[in-house]
Structures are given as structure tokens and as C-alpha cells.
Symmetry: C2
Subunit: 212 residues, 2 copies
């Protein structure tokens, strides 16, 4: 079923850097390639643009197919277009970053799956294609966005403690934050609303907040 054009057309795909928090550290979802090229190498999830969908839909669909989750935050952050970045044919990659809430149960299940695994961003394997470049850019963009706090909600459950929020902030920016100043900043931004409930852990319960 061939498709013919008067001029050469590249293939267009989306690649998605999906991040979550595991044990307080930022992790990225990678899949093990099951075919050539780069057989057995790790790569970002992604796939080709379908004829009647927009790029955003493509990224959301691919992510859904790979992880079974509807992304809470999906941001287009750049294109990768080196003519030889894919040895098979020319592929323009539109890069997205997505954040998933840290759901330890589901994440553990993903970990056990043969072909998809979470990797801490501090300990990445070699990646296929130019995915190391894409991932590096994704981390820069994510760190920049984290300063507005609200994107971080996508990494957390619907209700969260301020310590969790601060942990997410630190994991994403790579910088330590001062507890009292961090809370003041959050209060000033007005992006959270306190609830009447508390998280009960090993020690003093912490008040739960939600996105404002």
C-alpha cells in the first residue's frame, strides 16, 4: 500500500521523555528496542504521526500505548532533524516531555516488565539514536519549568504534603531548597490550597494540600 509524493517527504514522529519520581529521585521511562537498528538498546518511547492526528495527539496516544496512562502534563519542547539521525529513513522527531504521578505500585509493575523500565536520570544507559540529546534538552526544559511550581503537581498525587512538593522541586531542579523559604514562595505563588486532612507517617502528621 504505497504512498507517493512529488517531492521527498520525511517521516514525522514524536519522542516522549516521561518522568516520574521514585524514592525521591527523578526517573525517566525507557524502552528496550526489539528491532534494528539499535536492537537491545534503550530508547525514549515514541512513534510515528498518524495521518489524521495532531502532534499533541500523537504524543498522548503513544504515551498511552506505552504506559497505559493519560499524561497530566505534556509539553512540546523542540524538534530534532539531523538528516541521518535514523539510519533507515529520514525522521523528524518532535520531542515532548511528560510527567506522571509517582505511583509506587504501578511503577514497580512497570519495572518488572521486560521491555520498559524506569531509570534514574543520574544513572542512564546508553541510548539509541540521538535520544541522549533529546533527553538532555528535556531535563533543561523541565528544570526551568519547575520554578513555576505548578508543573510539579503532575508528579504528585492529587493531594500532597509540602515536603513532597519540595522533594519534587529539588529532584527536578537539582538544587536544595530551604524549607521555610520554599513554603513562603509556595504561599506567595498561591498555587496550592490547604485541605482539612493530614498524611499519617512515621512521625508528626503533615497537612495535605491540593492544586489551587
Amino acid at each position: 500500500m504505497p504512498f507517493t509524493y512529488e517531492y521527498p517527504h520525511p517521516a514525522v514522529a514524536t519522542d516522549i521523555a516521561v518522568f516520574t519520581l521514585r524514592l525521591g529521585a527523578l526517573n525517566v521511562l525507557l524502552i528496550e528496542r526489539g528491532g534494528e537498528p539499535y536492537l537491545g538498546a534503550w530508547a525514549l518511547p515514541g512513534g510515528f504521526l498518524q495521518p489524521d492526528e495532531e502532534l499533541d495527539q500523537c504524543a498522548r496516544r503513544e504515551l498511552e500505548e506505552e504506559t497505559g496512562v493519560d499524561a497530566e502534563l505534556l509539553v512540546q519542547f523542540g524538534n530534532f532533524s539531523a538528516p541521518d539521525r535514523d539510519p533507515r529513513e529520514r525522521v523528524i522527531s518532535v520531542a515532548y516531555l511528560a510527567l506522571l504521578p509517582s505511583d509506587e505500585l504501578r511503577l514497580e509493575a512497570s519495572t518488572d516488565a521486560a521491555q520498559a523500565r524506569w531509570f534514574p536520570v543520574a544513572a542512564l544507559p546508553r541510548l539509541a539514536f540521538d535520544h541522549d540529546k533529546i533527553l538532555a534538552r528535556a531535563l533543561e526544559v523541565l528544570a526551568g519549568r519547575a520554578r513555576q511550581i505548578s508543573p510539579l503537581f503532575a508528579l504528585l498525587p492529587p493531594r500532597f504534603t509540602l515536603s513532597q512538593l519540595q522533594g519534587a522541586y529539588e529532584a527536578v531542579t537539582g538544587e536544595e531548597a530551604e524549607k521555610r523559604n520554599f513554603r513562603k514562595m509556595v504561599a506567595t505563588l498561591g498555587c496550592v490550597r490547604e485541605t482539612e486532612d493530614f498524611a499519617h507517617g512515621a512521625h508528626r502528621p503533615a497537612r495535605l494540600y491540593e492544586a489551587a
Copy 2:
């Protein structure tokens, strides 16, 4: 000379919003379409990605072909991928914004050309395709970047007065700036270096600065 693929491939093009200053106002370069669809309508310059070039090269090349100028600032800021945005065939548009120095002589020449004209962004004609959306996004991105000052150098000659820089800032952000505070901000950012020369105008000469 047909090109055949196993799966449907969209065409990929770049569209470029080229800005400059004319009489202190922000202007954008539009071309009059010489063919269907949208014959006679105004549109952003742009064109199709060639087989062996990157997107950035494509934008720079198209810009060079349209204006004869090598852009001093060329920023990719988004993709436009609605399946029906071009009635002929599916085209993914990668949008760029570019800034040109305000060179009144050359600009006047362009103005007289039949099919390419500068328009003040405050008085735009109807645009072909979804170029109104692209241009609106470009203006947002540009206003955001202007706050870092240095992108504005691309709108100015190599050496400029602080009043010119402030004028560019105001034209791009749409906000008035306070003269003394603006100069303090520029000094703090450290992005300009003063020269020994002065611009001689109608009144007291103004010191010329250059990018630091």
C-alpha cells in the same frame, strides 16, 4: 520523479515570522501569495524542508531567499500540525521567529517590492492558512524573550544608543519602560559595553554601546 513510502508521510515546512523595527514600531515581513490556495492573501515567508538539511538550515535558507539577509536571531518556537491546515496536502509547519536590524534603506526597498511588504504588527491584514495563529504565538514568545534584553540586539545596528535599545524593548514588549530604571537594569545585566563614540542627532549626542 515520484517518491514512494510504505506509510503516509506529511510534508514538513518552516514558516518564519521576521520582525524588524520601522519608525520605532515592530513590523513583520509578509509575502503576497502568487498561487492557490489563498491567492493574493498575505502569508509568512517559509518553505519546504529539503532532503539533506536540518530545520534550522531550512529556516535560514528560506529567509535568505526571501529577504537576502542572514538572520541574526532565529528561534524555533513551535509546530503547527492541524491535519487540514493546508488544503493541498498535509503539511507540518515548524515555526521560527527571526529578527533583522532596522536598516531603513533596505527596508524601504523591500516595501516597494510588489510581493513582499513590512506590516506593523498593530495593523495586520488577513493572513493565509493558520498564519494568524503562528504570528500570535511568535509575538508572545518574542515579548517573553525581550526581557532578557540581549535578543533585542538583533533588531539594532552593531552599535546603538540606550534610547534605541529602550525603544526596541518597548516596541517588542508593548510596555513603557522608565528611563533610569531601564538603564540600571541594562547595567546590572552587563550585556552591553560602552564605546568611545557618540551618535550625533538633532541634540545632545548619545553614547554608543555594543553587545558585551
